[in-house]
Symmetry: C2
Subunit: 414 residues, 2 copies
């Protein structure tokens, strides 16, 4: 079976027209009018295919293709992504995974072949977490890690709750999925990083998602006059923070595969002629191996402790902000993707995902996996986000073939 | 002759009550109601002493004690400071110099002795430059380095001009001082640094003011996802800026006496999980020797040039923000101060001023000098600014004795 490339590309453009910004880019913030319009667009196409549409209590959308003979409780294969976006997004992040899932279902439905298991397209709400925290809200609810109450009570910066928006938009449903016996989730996504482009590979076989640990570090010294304070009498929080940050960055040389980012640093009072008395910075540490991530966290804490020098008038305090454990994807799903790439005659690359995704959350309850396509320059969350038509088509074709394989489509025929 | 210590201390408190903030500290921002009230307080005391008061076109206040026999054009000795303050000041910065000058004049007037030269108390407007730029506005006007028009057209952040405030408050006068033949300016001030306290000396003999050169440095890289971007593919503006800042700080080891401060650093987009694409920081470099300051400036530019690596996707741009040449005070004034300290049986310390002062500006047209007293912890521009009563009294007594010496008071009698 083969995807219909022109239809796939046209639909990506159609979906990107919903919430298109006059200055370029797309905005479909979770639980907004545009977000609902995007979901309705998906629902329309699912219904046009004759699929059953279900909407759960937080607004996650599912389209179900039943096996020949109707519903059975037998290991449904679920696949999809999300259609909400950041404030000024490109057209691919999330949307690609949903539109390609729709394309795969359409190809299968029109082929006349029916698998022995249900196939389920899933589009999860609020993956981005821009308007409402936490991100991956819809998949967290689906996995049982977030209550309906917690979802409804989340508030945006204007104080508007998800519950109020869901009621206003008639956004939520009451459908459940327990009867489907879902056992697999597969997500196609853009890489949002430069690895595939740099290595010149067609498709990424995602073997897991790295774990993440966030810290906030506060360095305090003493604020004094830049002109009148001799160098040896200073307690310069800016210099001390920079020294500590430099030492922390060296951890990436010491721990194989560690990604450590100091993305935010704020100085106080931040005046040209005043020695800073306080600097607050963040540390974002990521690693795919649980034990190694823990080792990195311990070393971060140790380095902060070593830099805490109250006897010199320089103190360092830190606190954890967030932590997500790494996950490894199910070997059966990973190998299905690898095999699909081979059969398509494409070059694959086994890699971990640097970013969190719905598939990461769903790996807690299902066999999960992901497929990546290259992102030009690694750019995402920006209108410059770009993958070539060919890369998009490759990704969708690999998704289709992986679904077929997971759904036991006769190999000789695929 | 000796100052009246209780009167001096009482008057410092009286002046500090004008513009006192409920939460502690004093606010008499230039060209505000409180600023005018402070100036009126000084004027009241000058007139009570029977002195002639003059107010120039920008509101600088002068109190003139004529020689026996009335006005003569013969090398007036001027002394004073300023009574405007920063937003939340202590009671000494500026005010000490004016109140001690008033005290010195009162002691001389009541002694009955008359010098052969005019003695002039000066209180310059807007030394602090907090509400209206530039700082040292009044002395710059007096020195002929700033026009009346430029003063009147300066605007605060609400768009209100100095001219509008001067008209509203009837702040300005029309008096000139050309008839006085001023040739000397002496200013008593708190050190605003920790040197005298650290060395445990009574009084600072200020031999000059260090020059200052300010730069703004902009480092640009590329903003990418902290999770998905491998370490070796990053163009981290935060790391690059930190490396450059660390290298710049080493200049203080390489150039004897250089004070270099990175006081302000701002990251963009400053998000925990995004590699920063832009960092803007400032460099404040100070040295008392003109050639050495120039050498430091050249090395700062060279280090920025060396860090400009467009081939690596990391660029560095810089621009000068401000420059003030160093000044050396007149030896005659410096030695008069040193001699006065000796005669008072106090310990002096020859030092440069780290901060700018009206005396720095006036050194362009007069023989100038300064006297420092210790600042506890080097703190100023803050309600915690503090010098002991004894230190204040020492400073005022040294000012009085220096004025007498410069005004040719018979040495044997002093």
């Amino acid at each position: 079976m083969h995807i219909d490339a022109p239809r796939l590309l046209r639909r990506l453009d159609d979906l990107a027209a919903i919430g298109a910004l006059p200055e370029g880019g797309v905005q479909r913030l979770a639980f907004s009018d545009e977000d609902l319009a995007g979901r309705n667009w998906v629902q329309y196409h699912l219904e046009a295919l004759g699929l059953q549409v279900r909407i759960d209590e937080v607004g996650n959308l599912f389209g179900v293709l039943y096996p020949e003979g109707g519903p059975i409780d037998a290991g449904a294969i679920m696949f999809g992504s999300h259609t909400d976006t950041v404030g000024r997004a490109g057209r691919l992040d999330g949307s690609l995974g949903v539109v390609a899932a729709l394309e795969a279902l359409e190809v299968i439905v029109t082929s006349g072949w029916r698998p022995a298991r249900p196939l389920v397209l899933a589009s999860f709400v609020n993956e981005e977490g821009v308007r409402y925290m936490p991100d991956m809200m819809g998949s967290l609810f689906h996995a049982g890690d977030l209550s309906l109450e917690a979802v409804r009570e989340a508030r945006d910066r204007n104080g508007v709750s998800v519950g109020e928006e869901m009621d206003r938009l008639d956004y939520a449903g009451k459908d459940e999925l327990t009867d489907l016996g879902i056992d697999t989730f597969l997500e196609l996504h853009i890489e949002q990083g430069p690895v595939l482009e740099t290595l010149n590979r067609h498709v990424g076989i995602v073997t897991g998602v790295q774990g993440l640990s966030w810290f906030e570090v506060t360095v305090e010294g003493a604020s004094n006059h830049a002109g009148t304070t001799p160098m040896d009498l200073r307690r310069d929080a800016g210099k001390h923070a920079a020294d500590l940050a430099a030492r922390l960055r060296i951890l990436t040389d010491e721990i194989e595969g560690l990604r450590l980012t100091i993305g935010s640093m704020t100085w106080y009072p931040n005046l040209i002629n005043v020695i800073p008395d306080r600097v607050v910075f963040t540390v974002d540490a990521r690693h795919p191996d649980p034990a190694t991530l823990e080792d990195a966290e311990n070393r971060i804490r140790s380095l902060c402790t070593a830099a805490h020098r109250p006897e010199k008038g320089l103190t360092v305090a830190w606190k954890p902000l967030a932590r997500v454990a790494p996950c490894s994807f199910a070997s059966g799903v990973v190998e299905a993707v690898a095999d699909a790439i081979d059969r398509e005659g494409l070059t694959g690359h086994r890699m971990i995902s640097g970013a969190g995704h719905d598939a990461h959350i769903l790996s807690r309850c299902y066999r999960a996996g992901m497929i990546f396509i290259p992102s030009r320059g690694g750019v995402s969350h920006h209108p410059d986000e770009y993958s070539t038509d060919e890369q998009i088509i490759h990704g969708a074709q690999v998704l289709l073939r992986s679904i077929l394989s997971l759904a036991d489509y006769p190999t000789s025929a695929s």
